[in-house]
């Protein structure tokens, strides 16, 4: 039993972090929030060259041969940087293609960062998707990072498909609460795609992976809110003292640190459970989502409070985490939906 990062994981973390600090400082994240979707193309190719999309893909399929535990490290760093773009869809697409006999050339393009694949969760209530054979019809209302995607990993209740952008797919970008994770309304009119699996268990497995990696992304953001508050608490002075010396602020930061540890521990445990195919993996993923969503929403709010009047401005980054926390909660099974799943488990017992 060991839940601390390995030396490989530490190496991945430091290389991803330094890449993101150079390529995606918060000033660039804010530019991308205003820019058209094609602005992401160079970033995607650079990430592809560094092997970001293939960490959990076998070496024989063009990946690095690690596992979801290393992908967790990547997503934590992406979440810490509030990196915009369909990272989750692209990594999931690589998995779906590699594990379900997808086209090898297509897989190579995803791994190289030449395809930006948005994840379309067609199992949620926010839409009405029907997949028949290789055709998809219906709508997804709040699809994150879908604008400008070159393909869509569509997860219908019983089928997983990779659908390329075409005239049969209409993407309508929507004004979005979360500037770093914009949403679009996506309509499929009998759009043709590559059918990767017709199996509800496969779809559930992909959703499980997606959910737990989104938790890892949240862990990075949650950790960042703690760091921002602590940094500010050390330098901002009132009454001739750093505000972090006041217990009202210090204790709020302590609670933020506890929530961060709760989120990180439960996510790490869930990720390893998924990697091992543990019998309780679905339960562990629900636990992680419940605790990460609660921690993110509250930590982001506390971070605004700790920054005072500055925290309420557009200029201060604190609000970006408030909005990301909200967009994290509502996708892939909200906190309340996950609580109901857990409750259904022991109510039935």
């Amino acid at each position: 039993m060991d839940l601390m990062p390995s030396s490989d994981q530490e190496a991945i973390q430091s290389s991803v972090r330094s890449f993101l600090e150079n390529e995606l400082p918060m000033s660039r994240v804010r530019e991308l929030a205003q820019a058209g979707p094609d602005a992401l193309a160079p970033l995607w190719r650079a990430a592809g060259e560094l092997g970001f999309f293939g960490l959990g893909i076998p070496e024989g399929d063009g990946g690095s041969g690690y596992a979801i535990t290393e992908e967790m490290v990547l997503f934590e760093e992406l979440g810490r940087a509030l990196a915009p773009g369909p990272w989750l869809g692209s990594v999931l697409a690589a998995h779906a293609l590699a594990e379900h006999g997808g086209d090898r050339a297509e897989l190579a393009r995803v791994l190289a960062g030449e395809q930006r694949v948005a994840l379309i969760d067609g199992t949620s209530a926010a839409g009405s998707l029907v997949a028949r054979g290789g055709d998809v019809t219906g709508e997804a209302f709040y699809a994150p990072d879908a604008h400008g995607a070159s393909a869509f990993l569509v997860l219908a209740p019983r089928a997983a498909l990779l659908v390329p952008a075409s005239s049969a797919v209409t993407v309508e970008p929507r004004p979005s609460l979360d500037p770093t994770r914009r949403i679009a309304r996506v309509r499929f009119d009998g759009a043709r795609g590559a059918l990767l699996a017709e199996d509800a268990a496969v779809v559930r497995g992909l959703l499980r992976t997606a959910t737990v990696l989104s938790c890892a992304e949240a862990v990075g953001g949650i950790q960042r809110t703690v760091e921002m508050s602590v940094e500010y608490g050390k330098v901002r002075k009132q009454f001739d003292r750093p505000i972090g010396s006041f217990q009202a602020v210090k204790h709020r930061c302590a609670d933020m640190a506890v929530r961060a540890e709760v989120a990180r521990s439960s996510t790490t445990y869930a990720v390893v459970s998924v990697r091992d195919g543990a019998p309780d993996q679905d339960f562990q993923v629900s636990v992680a989502k419940i605790l990460c969503a609660g921690a993110y929403v509250q930590n982001a709010a506390d971070n605004v409070q700790n920054h005072g009047g500055m925290g309420f401005t557009w200029e201060c980054d604190a609000h970006l985490f408030v909005k990301r926390a909200r967009s994290f909660d509502v996708v892939l099974g909200s906190r309340v939906e996950q609580l109901d799943r857990l409750a259904a488990g022991f109510r039935a017992a």
Binding site: M1, D2, L3, M4, P5, S6, Q9, T69, V226, V230, G233, K234, R241, P242, G244, S245, Q247, V249, K250, H251, C253, A254, D255, A257, V258, E261, V262, R264, S265, S266, T268, Y269, V271, V272, S273, R275, D276, A278, Q284, S286, V287, I290, L291, G294, V336, L339, D340, L342, A343, F346, R347
Partner: protein, 408 residues
């Protein structure tokens, strides 16, 4: 990263489980019969010692099991999972006094005291807090004057659990009132039968009398009982508190998981609103209510997180060899979670919690078997969990300053 245990560790788990299941004592005495509880705990400790399970974390050279960190974790998990009786009257000897002697005591002190603690022959208590020194422990003022071969102690201690039955006490006294406050303290082993000691039990809000005030009127303690050096007691005491924040709380964390499972069962069998007995059949149960069910689900998730946090902390300690400062994060989370669990129990039980007899709850052994009496009693006890062993406010200071590096 790995959440499984080695085959060797799994064999250890199987042995521990089998032994605990076959040997755990049934029917502990009533809460208020402290002498009977003490005898019960000592007998249980002796049984563990005879089978080689006592002092799971103590080094082998002092008669302990010398178990690895993972084995300690497994032992505490199995102990709690089996619902084995916690020998709480022996906590100070096993988790404070003994480990402090191991870390800082001399050979004579170790060879006399350690075997007695481990074999279940003696009870220790703690003399740290004072009326004027709680969270600010370093401000303690109980004086000790060196007179020949003795320390002569005068003053008062408080919140001393089991002083009325203890044979020995780990006692902090001020030996140099001129020095800076942390530099004039001495850690000494006090025999509780020494002339000049007066003990007055204090009744808690739960109605029981585990802890006491202890008064010292020119009590003579041999200088040979000083552990470490005169005026070096703060350092000695800190080595003790490090143990307390290490693995000693593992089993109560696992017990909390069991309690949430019991709470779910309580909600399954209690009418919504906690109506009185004699409800019509088919009434809605608390568990049928979406709000109650979601709050139970959140608690279920939180105790699961408590376990993964503990696993992470143990993993970190296994790598570094020292208890991690992050343990204070777990301690704070645990203590508040314990209160949330018991708070929800009170809401589920509803008005029937009002029908609670303080005398019966803590004195009659039969009452302890009644679910309602037990939940109310444990709810009252849970108020102590954010006060004892460093209040939640002090824990937040520790996290803010030592973990996050915020200014004092």
């Amino acid at each position: 990263m790995d959440i499984t245990f080695t085959p060797e560790e799994e064999r250890f788990r199987a042995r521990a489980r089998e032994w605990i299941e076959a040997n755990k004592p049934a029917d502990p005495p009533a809460e208020n019969d402290i002498r009977a509880r003490c005898q019960f705990d000592l007998a249980w400790q002796r049984r563990m010692y005879d089978a080689g399970w006592a002092g799971i974390s103590w080094p082998r050279e002092y008669g302990g099991r010398g178990a690895s960190l993972m084995e300690q974790l497994i032992w505490y998990e199995e102990f709690a999972r089996a619902g084995a009786h916690e020998p709480s009257t022996l906590f100070v000897g096993l988790n404070h006094g003994g480990p402090t002697l191991i870390a800082c005591g001399n050979e004579a002190q170790k060879s006399f005291h350690l075997p007695r603690i481990l074999r279940g022959e003696t009870v220790w208590c703690q003399g740290f807090s004072e009326p004027g020194a709680g969270s600010d422990l370093g401000g303690l003022s109980t004086r000790a004057v060196i007179d020949g071969d003795d320390l002569v102690v005068s003053g008062q201690k408080i919140w001393t659990s089991f002083a009325q039955i203890a044979e020995w006490q780990e006692l902090l006294v001020r030996t140099d009132p001129e020095a800076p406050k942390h530099k004039g303290i001495t850690w000494v082993i006090c025999p509780m039968d020494a002339p000049g000691i007066e003990i007055r039990p204090i009744r808690t809000m739960a109605g029981h009398q585990d802890f006491c005030e202890v008064f010292y009127d020119e009590v003579r303690i041999p200088r040979a009982n000083v552990v470490g050096q005169i005026n070096d007691g703060w350092r000695v005491a800190m080595s003790t508190l490090g143990f307390e924040r290490g693995t000693a709380f593992l089993s109560e964390q696992v017990r909390l998981t069991r309690m949430v499972d019991e709470l779910i069962e309580l909600a399954r069998h209690t009418p919504l609103g906690g109506a009185a007995p004699g409800d019509p059949a088919g009434a809605r149960r608390a568990l049928d209510d979406a709000d109650v069910a979601r709050r139970l689900a959140l608690l279920r998730a939180e105790v699961e997180a408590l376990r993964s946090m503990t696993y992470r902390s143990v993993s970190r300690t296994a790598r570094t060899g020292v208890p991690s400062s992050e343990a204070s994060l777990i301690r704070l989370f645990f203590s508040e979670l314990q209160q949330r669990v018991h708070g929800l129990a009170m809401e589920i039980l509803g008005p029937q919690v009002l029908d609670w007899d303080v005398e019966e709850a803590s004195t009659a052994a039969g009452a302890r078997k009644r679910i309602r009496e037990t939940w109310v009693f444990r709810w009252l006890l849970s108020f102590a969990s954010t006060i004892a062993a460093g209040s939640k406010d002090i824990q937040r200071n520790i996290i803010g300053e030592r973990v996050l590096g915020l200014p004092r």
